[in-house]
Structures are given as C-alpha cells and as structure tokens.
Symmetry: D3
Subunit: 170 residues, 6 copies
C-alpha cells in the first residue's frame, strides 16, 4: 500500500493542482493533501483561511477522486529544519511526496528518506496568476474547477481578493 | 444543509466517540471531526500524535460512516478567548457543535452563536480509562473499534502508552 | 516625578488591591496597573479576560483615584529572565514596583535596579478566596468594590466562575 | 452608552490621529486607543516601543480629551482570522471601530458585526512621512502635538529614528 | 570518530552528571552537553538560567575533561514529535545519546536511528534532592563539584533556590 | 577577568569574523560566540542550521584560539526590546560586546550598560558576498578558513547554497 502526500498553499486550488492529484490517484492507494501556511488568511498572498481552502478542495475531490483522501491544515513554523517532523506529526504515514517546484521542500523530504516526485511542469497554472486575474477583473473561470468557482463567488472571496490586492498595490 | 463539528482529543478514539458520530450522521449532512491538542504526542495523557489519531479515526469512519466527513488537527493555543475563531479558521463552515462534557467549550461556542448539543452520557467510556487499562495490561479491546485495536497494536502504541504511564507514576 | 507600577492578575480586582492603589496614590504622581497573565480567560484560576478585568478596574479607579493612571494588559511569557524587559517594553517608564507577595517578581525587579515595596499584609484579601466564595454561593460582595460587584453580576461572570470551578473539581 | 475603538501603530502619534480621536470624543462616551504591533520597537518602521507610545499618547490625551479613555497595547499575532477575538480579549467592550484606511481590519470587524467608520482622509498626515522628515532632518514639529515633540526629543527617539533609517538604507 | 550527546536540565549540575560525562569521554571523541529547558530560570524547579548553567558546567569541564566538548542551550518546544529534529538543528552532528532515565527521550532518539545508552543508575544523585538540601539548609557540598559549589554561593543562587522553594510551598 | 561577546549569524563563518575573534582573544580572558538567528536554516539568506554553524566554527576555533571560548545558539525573538535580556539569559556573564555594524544591537547593549566595540571595517568581508560567490561558482576558498571550506564541501552545503539562491532568483 502506498500513500502520497501533496503539500501546497492552494490560494486558490486550481486545475494544475487537480492534475497532480489525478496523477497521485493513479500511483497511490491513499492521498494526503496538506494545506500549507494554514494559519494565514486575509492577506493579499494568502486570501483564504485554511478552513475555506479545505472546504473548496473537499468539494472538488469528492466529485473527482475515488480513492480515500484526507485534507490536513499544516501551519508554517518558519523553521525549515523541523518542517519534516512537523508534517509527520500532523498527517497519517506517507511514502511519496508530490512536489511542484519548491526545491527546499524537495531537499528536506528527500534527506529524510522519502521518495520525492517533481511536477512543476505538470501544474502549468500558477496561483499568483489566478489571483491576479481575479483582482484585475479578467477571465479566471477556466483556471479552476467549477466547484471552486462557485465557492469563491458565493463566499465573495473573489471580492476579498480584489480588495486585498488593491490595498497592497497602494 | 447542516454540518456538525465534534472536537475531541481522541487519545485514543473509542466506541463512545463513535456513538456520538453515528448520532451526528443522523442529524447532519456533513461531519467535521476536530482533533484537539494536535501538537502533542508522546506524553502520558497525549500518547498519540495528531497524525496517528487521524489515521486511526480515518480507518474507522471509512468503514462505518457513509456521509462526507473530514478530520482536522487543531493545535491548542492556550488562550480560550481566541479558541472559537481559531477553530473557525481551520475547518469548513459548521452549524452545530457536538460536545462531550467540556463546559468551557460549550459556553464559548454557544456565546459565538452556535447550537451546542451535549453528549456526555452518550459517550459512556472515558479515554483515561482506556489508557489505564492498556497501561495495566487488563482487557481493553472492547472499548475500541477493531480498526483502532489493530492500529494501536501494529504501531506498538499500546507499548508506548505502557512506558509513558510507568514513567509518569515514578 | 514618581511613577508606580502594580502588577497583578486581578481575578477579580478586590478591596485589597484597591488599598495598595490608594497607597500608591499617596506616594506617586502617576500609577500604572499591569494586568498580568493577560492572554488567559475562561480558566478556573483565570476566569476573566484581560479586557473584562481592564473594564472592571477602570470603573473603580475613575471613581476612587484622582491622579493619572493607566491600566495595561501584560501577557505571560513563561520566561522569567526576560520578564522585566517584557514589562518595560509595554508600559510607560516607572520608578517603584508595588508587589503583593510574589518573591520572584520582587527579586527580578530589584535586580534590575527598581525600588520594590512589598504589601503582602496590606492586601489582606486573596483572590482565590473571592473566587471560592463566588463558586460556593457564599457571601462575596464585601470583598469587592460595588462597581466590580455590579460588573461581575451584569456580565454573568459570577455564573462563569461557578461553572469553571465545578468543571475543575470533577 | 457608546464606546469607540481606534487601532493604530502610532509610530509616532501625530495630529491626524488626534483629529480622529476628537471625532470619537464627539460621537462616543468612552474611547479605547489600541496600540497595534505592540511587541515591536527599535525597527526602522516601528522605532518606538509600546510603552513609549503609550506614554506619549497619554500625555496628549490627558491635555486634550475630557471623556474617559484607555490606551491598550495589542501585539500582532500574524493571523488575521483570529485578530478580532484577539482584540476583544484585551480591551473593554466596544461598539464602533474607527479605521484609517486598513481595509482588512475594516472587513474583519464589519464581518464580526461592528460598525466601522473610515477616516482615511481625515487623518491627512501619514506616519511614514513624519519618520522620513525626522530621519532627513527636515521640519517635523508641525506634524505632532507639542507633548509628542518634547517626548521624542527628550527621550532622544528622534536620534534613534535617524539611526534606524540610515541603517535600513545601507 | 564518535560524538556523544548528553541532554539534561542540570538544575544544578552535580557529580552524577559528571560521572556520565567521564564515561562519555572514554567512549567518544567529542562531547555535546545540551542544556534542556533552556528558556526557564527563576522557577522553583528551574532556578538557574541557561547562561548560569552553561557558566557553571563550563568551569567544571575545563578542569576535568580533556576531549573537545561544547555546551548548548536547547529550549523546550513542548512538542515531543519535533524534539529530535529540534535538537539536531541546534547542535553539531552526533552518534550516541547518553540518557539518564527519560524514557520518552530514549524512545524518540532510538526511533530516529540513534544509539541510546542509559545511565540512570550511574547518575545516583538526583537534582531534586540537591535543590531540596539547599532549600532546607542541610549539607549539599558533597553533591557537586567544587567549581559548582563556589559558583552557586558566589552568585547567591543558593539563596535564590531557598526563596523560590519557600514561595512554592506556601 | 574580562569576557567578550560576539554576536553574528555566521552564514558562513569567514576570515573577517576570525579576525574579530583574534582581537577579542587579545583583549579578553574568555570568549562567547553567539550564533544569532539560530532557528533558521535552509533559507537562501540562512542556509546553514545553528548546529552546522556551531560545528564549523568549533573546528576553526579549536585550532586557532587558545583562550577558553563557548559557542551558543541564540534564536531570534523578533522583539528588540527584549533582546538583551534574551541573550543574557542564554550565555555566561560578559563585559564587552563586539559588534560588526548592526547599530540597533550596539544601541541596545550600550543602553543596558555594556561596553560596545565596533569592528565593521576590521571584518572587511561580508557573508552575503561569500554566499554569492558560492552560488555563482566563482572562487570563494580565500574568504574562509580551510576548516570551514572542507566542512561546507564535505556536507555539500555549497550545493545547498547554490540551489537555495537559484530558487530565490526565479
């Protein structure tokens, strides 16, 4: 039995993230999605709280993924040397780490003996881009799953992103 | 749609906890199980890490519960006045709080406008009792679901509990 | 010009505390009341939040004290060696420390060069006693200023203390 | 009875801040001035400690304001979702939030049910400007109340600001 | 080359500790002495600051130990699952852990792949006993190295221990 | 007897740092090297953990310095007003602070009554420069002691620095 771990901030969760998770589903028996920087929210680069991100991701995965998964908020501890054991203490046991371009994370988990698979290209979309599109009022629906689109609009998180990024650019 | 939240330490998850969750399943559409005191582990009163508890609970709920659920580690912040907003920031939106006897938690969530349902009697079993039985080598299998029993034995958490409680009593 | 500092937890503020402050008013030009353990609240030994304590003390001092005073919440840092500089960084400059029996506080501030005046006997009343009387339903009105009495009753903090201490004794 | 809350960093307290407080005095019965980012000091953007800011503001308000006020240091917690309950736990109860342009603060307190009044234009002066004038040695006396001017000069905080900003620009 | 790690609180450093270090010197090429609970001081169970403990231990080891050693303060993080990586991030690389009876520490470092040698009996003396003797005014010179004795007396730490333990017993 | 304190981040320890320590050896009887920002590691500006820095510095000083020294990790507390007492609580008593250009540190320790000696020019080399040379693959051996050079290469910290700085510049 193989368990995969995917760490991201998911601000917001987009189709690139989903394609990594589809790949995990092919290769693993169980999936752990760790929501990093869990303590933040209402910042221009971290507009959604961990609870909101968990709710949005849960809506998508329940529709799209058949294998068992869990979604776990993981707070930043601003101390990389302890990061692997911090994650280990908060999530079920895992075997493979799915990484999308953070080389420090890759190095730390590899040094701790985990297999690390890099998917930077597979992701394609970048969350910064998505937030920028939302803030500028340009088209962003095609970047995300329809469940995420509805959730962001219904909870008025799109408006929050606009306000936060305007604040920032002043 | 109604979402229920159940906060516990689950050291370990026992059949009393499960009976509360069965009740939640009857009354709610979605279930959130919050693992409190998530940062602790390897203490006599908190022998399991949050990750271990999440893994054990997940094994049970996937077998016994049909409705969508999520299991979320929540660290203690040692500051009750901020506890409700701490929980709110980490889990999906919820409507009802299932409480098993912690009157402060009940008071705080009620003050914040949530419906609180108390299930102290329904739980029946007390986790302290279970840990004591494990530590003393008396029968404890009947307190927990078979998945939890296998998990604790396989990961040698029963032995850890014995060692930790012996340490304590010195 | 002389400024006095009085550090207490004020759970709750009682007539013993007030008598120390009256003494300070005779000896100093300005008064600083530091509310220690400010981050706690809803605990059996720390039932009131810092904000509630500040409000209660403010109501009394505005009636009873003529000289300028300020009331400042000071969080515990659980690290005595840094405590003096922690306090110094949060309150206006001061000359004399009024102490009611905490010998560590006395030693630390004296070591930092402050004059320390001890008032253990002057206080007479002990806050633990007051909380116990409230919890047991015996007479407690004579321990506190009438403003504190009204505040505790109106905000139902007396009931909270009862619930918290019952919880504890289980 | 109406209580107003004004949150600022007050690095330093200037005449724009005072004009907001005069407005509060007209509209409220009691005033709470919360000193944000209270744990910082000796940084180029946060040169004064909370204690120094409290002392400076206290000197001004005792001269200029007739209604009861309190000045409360509030540490940053770097976690916006908990910020409202953090503030609530540290200050007396309040009804109206006076805000000078921080849209996140405005959104969070409004979401928590408080009335929020925005005074960005009323403030006019910006503390960054004042620190810059001090650092560059240009005229800055007209930005602040005479009590603040004397305090900064007497405590040599003007020199500290100069040093800190020179450090930064290296 | 072999490096040994010895973790203790050293409140105070006594001859039992020294005998473990002499054993380490026989078995290792380099010695690391980690001062645990480094952030505490001026508490009845943690009377000395980390700096004071480092100074006292340094005076002894410079006289008694020929091999290279270092003494490192390590703060408690109140989170056992991260403790091994916390220690690893603060001290030079090590191979063997010398343990004097803390079974959790032993289990955690063994689980992380370190050799753990237990020396509970070798230590013989218990620091609690030493502090008790100091507090009660009975003979305690024979428990500690002469350098520690002089240091505690000269810095008046013996008097501090007396005051702190009297405070506690009230 | 005179004890000197030298605080630095030592990312990495270079010949400029060593020249300051040689000066300390001439002027003091005992030397304390405090490794600041001890909690960080695996960041582009803080690539080495405190343990790695301690190991590298220890190798150099054991060869080059005859007088007693100790090397102490000191975590940042992001709160300058408490910094002096934070350092005091973690290291042996000291008399003189050796500073290499951080004016805040200089001001804070001077305000606390310590003699501060500034050595900005003496240092000459800047650690940023050394990390940049390593990242760019240009010559860097002449910046550091041979023990540091061997250590960085053997532990592959040079490669880590390259990776981290590449990450940053993306």
């Amino acid at each position: 039995m193989k368990t995969g771990l995917f760490i991201g901030r998911f601000q917001p969760f987009h189709l690139g993230h989903l394609s990594v998770i589809r790949q995990m589903e092919k290769e693993c028996d169980e999936l752990i999605i760790a929501i990093g920087s869990a303590q933040y929210g209402f910042y221009d680069k971290n507009p959604m709280t961990a609870g909101e991100r968990m709710e949005a991701i849960g809506k998508v995965l329940r529709k799209e993924i058949k294998k068992p998964f869990c979604i776990v908020p993981v707070e930043d501890i601003n101390c990389y040397p302890k990061y692997v054991s911090h994650v280990e203490s908060l999530v079920p046991e895992f075997d493979v780490v799915y990484n999308t371009g953070n080389e420090v994370i890759a190095e730390l988990f590899a040094a701790a003996g985990y297999e690390v698979r890099n998917f930077q290209k597979k992701v394609g979309i970048c969350a910064t881009e998505v937030r920028k599109a939302i803030a500028e009022g340009s088209e962003w629906k095609h970047f995300v799953h329809e469940e995420v689109f509805s959730f962001l609009v219904e909870k008025k998180i799109d408006e929050r992103i606009r306000r936060l990024m305007k604040d920032e650019s002043r």
